[in-house]
């Protein structure tokens, strides 16, 4: 399965990436894209910017392991994961997960699986800048719960 994994400071274009997954192919019946976007408010207080730090080399390797796991679980025909790093402003794209399959079920499930794993396993850290303070984002237990549920079920192929 063709898989694209990129860590980059530059922005990405969702439409371009989705089109690349299906270009020249007629076996793909479904593409699901998820885009994570920097919010202008966090916990009820305005955010001026977000800084993303990553572990070069391991981030790509860890995401590749998640993609391999997704490919083992669902009949995927393509996947693209792009995660940005550096300083991002409210409204900026943070992350793209795009999955392609013959049918929507696998594409939806794999995209959600990849996002859940990305949040709790990929070595990336967010720092929030506010008008009067700078702080690292705390890991959410709800994200661990979201990731753990994938170890409790083996979803159907469609």
């Amino acid at each position: 399965m063709p898989a694209t994994i990129r860590l980059q400071s530059a922005d990405f274009d969702v439409g371009t990436e989705a089109a690349l997954l299906t270009r020249g192919r007629t076996d793909i019946g479904a593409v699901v894209t998820f885009t994570g976007i920097c919010r202008g408010e966090e916990a009820g207080a305005p955010v001026s910017a977000m800084k993303l730090e990553h572990y070069p080399g391991m981030a790509e390797a860890e995401i590749a392991r998640h993609v391999a796991e997704a490919e083992a679980r669902w009949p995927l025909l393509g996947a693209t994961i792009i995660h940005r790093y550096g300083r991002l402003l409210p409204g900026d794209n943070i992350v793209l997960v795009a999955t392609a399959s013959s049918h929507r079920g696998a594409a939806f499930a794999a995209a959600e699986f990849l996002m859940d794993y990305l949040k709790t396993r990929a070595p990336l850290w967010k720092k929030i800048e506010r008008a009067d303070s700078v702080s690292w984002v705390d890991a959410k237990s709800s994200d661990d719960v979201a990731t753990d549920r994938w170890t409790e079920q083996r979803p159907a192929a469609e």
């Binding site: 391991m58 990305l118 967010k126 690292w136 984002v137 890991a139 994200d143």
Partner: protein, 83 residues
């Protein structure tokens, strides 16, 4: 052995990477954190709550009890918050 630190672990230690040569008694990831914590105030601060710090050996997540023998690169970081 090369050590890497990320996010607030990096900020507390005061550097992003360094090369260390721990004694043979330092066998596991947990041993390495305890040894590092004894290297000075900044390390003690970084590793004061070692239970919440995550580790990776050569680009793969590992648990605190994992042996470090043969590791080229060991990284320490807080729970991840990407996505």
């Amino acid at each position: 052995m090369k050590l890497l630190y990320f996010a607030w672990v990096r900020e507390r230690v005061g550097k992003g990477e360094e090369v260390v040569d721990p004694p043979a008694s330092v066998a596991t990831v947990a041993d390495l954190m305890a040894w590092l914590a004894g290297r000075g105030e900044e390390y003690a601060f970084a590793f004061e709550n070692a239970k919440i710090i995550r580790a990776a050996i050569d680009h793969a997540h590992v648990k605190a009890g994992t042996p470090i023998a043969g590791a080229k690169e060991v990284a320490f970081f807080p729970p991840m918050t990407g996505g």
